[in-house]
């Protein structure tokens, strides 16, 4: 009699391990997207504010911290630099480029005004203030 070959069996354990790793990876990275919003800026609450349904990809977010530091993407900028950046944005994507000012609730209006003035100088008129709709 011929010796019977043992049944070929696939070991499933490593595959399941990888699937779980994938699940964990995706769950964690999705959460990271929200964390990207975290800056030292503490925004004011505006529970009645509208939520933007369609986001304009051209949007420029300018942060204003409580101590008056103006920054874009966490890079502190002087007024001249900000103006240069905004002017470049106007050249590439037009004057209708929206600017969102993400001001700290304790930031003085004086600094916000300076940012708005620079936007005006660059020719940008679509200004918005970001606020928190609910506690994140």
């Amino acid at each position: 009699m011929r010796k019977q070959m043992p049944d070929a069996k696939m070991d499933m354990t490593p595959m399941i391990d990888i699937v779980f790793q994938l699940i964990i990876f995706f769950v964690v990275t999705v959460d990271m997207q929200n964390k990207a919003l975290e800056t030292s800026v503490r925004m004011a609450m505006a529970p009645n504010g509208p939520v933007e349904e369609v986001k304009d990809p051209r949007t420029i977010v300018v942060d204003v911290e409580a101590d008056g530091t103006i920054s874009i993407m966490r890079t502190p900028l002087g007024e001249g630099q900000l103006l240069a950046i905004l002017k470049k944005a106007v050249n590439t994507s037009g004057q209708s480029t929206p600017v969102v000012i993400r001001g700290d609730l304790e930031a003085k209006h004086e600094v916000i005004k300076r940012v708005m003035d620079v936007c005006g100088k660059a020719g940008l008129w679509k200004l918005r203030f970001a606020a928190l709709k609910e506690k994140a």
Binding site: M12, V19, Q33, A44, A46, K108
Partner: protein, 137 residues
């Protein structure tokens, strides 16, 4: 001699993993496709009138609703008002004409949170025509 009847041996219990993994993949794909992070940021639209150099500074302000935002509180048409009063006033304005322009004059030393609160109250009452003017003091 009685022969013991031999029971047929039970096949070793094996769990079929393939359907489970299929389902897990389906679920994974479903969640990745449908997940949408909750939008916690709101954007308050404002309009900023450009300073008109030809307008004399001492000109009488036009007939519109004026909100003043100061370091220590608000005013509605130059009358001091608490946030609740401001809310009520804006509610009244909105019930008459929701398209009414609201001119918000903000003091330079006031905190940004105060302005956002005023804009939020305008949004709450459905007022959309908002002009933000910065005062020099």
């Amino acid at each position: 001699m009685a022969r013991k009847r031999q029971r047929p041996e039970a096949a070793p219990a094996e769990l079929e993993m393939t359907p489970m993994i299929d389902v897990v993949f389906q679920l994974l794909v479903y969640f990745i496709v449908t997940i949408k992070p909750i939008d916690v940021i709101t954007n308050l639209d404002v309009f900023r009138p450009a300073p008109d150099k030809n307008t004399p500074q001492d000109q009488k302000p036009p007939n519109l609703v004026r909100i003043g935002v100061y370091q220590d509180g608000y005013t509605v048409n130059d009358i001091p008002a608490s946030p609740e009063l401001l809310d009520q006033a804006l509610g009244k304005v909105a019930s008459i004409d929701a398209g009414q322009t609201i001119m918000i004059t903000v003091s330079a030393v006031s905190e940004h949170g105060m302005l956002v609160k005023a804009l939020d109250l305008c949004a709450k009452n459905g007022l959309k025509s908002l002009s933000v003017v910065s005062a020099s003091n």
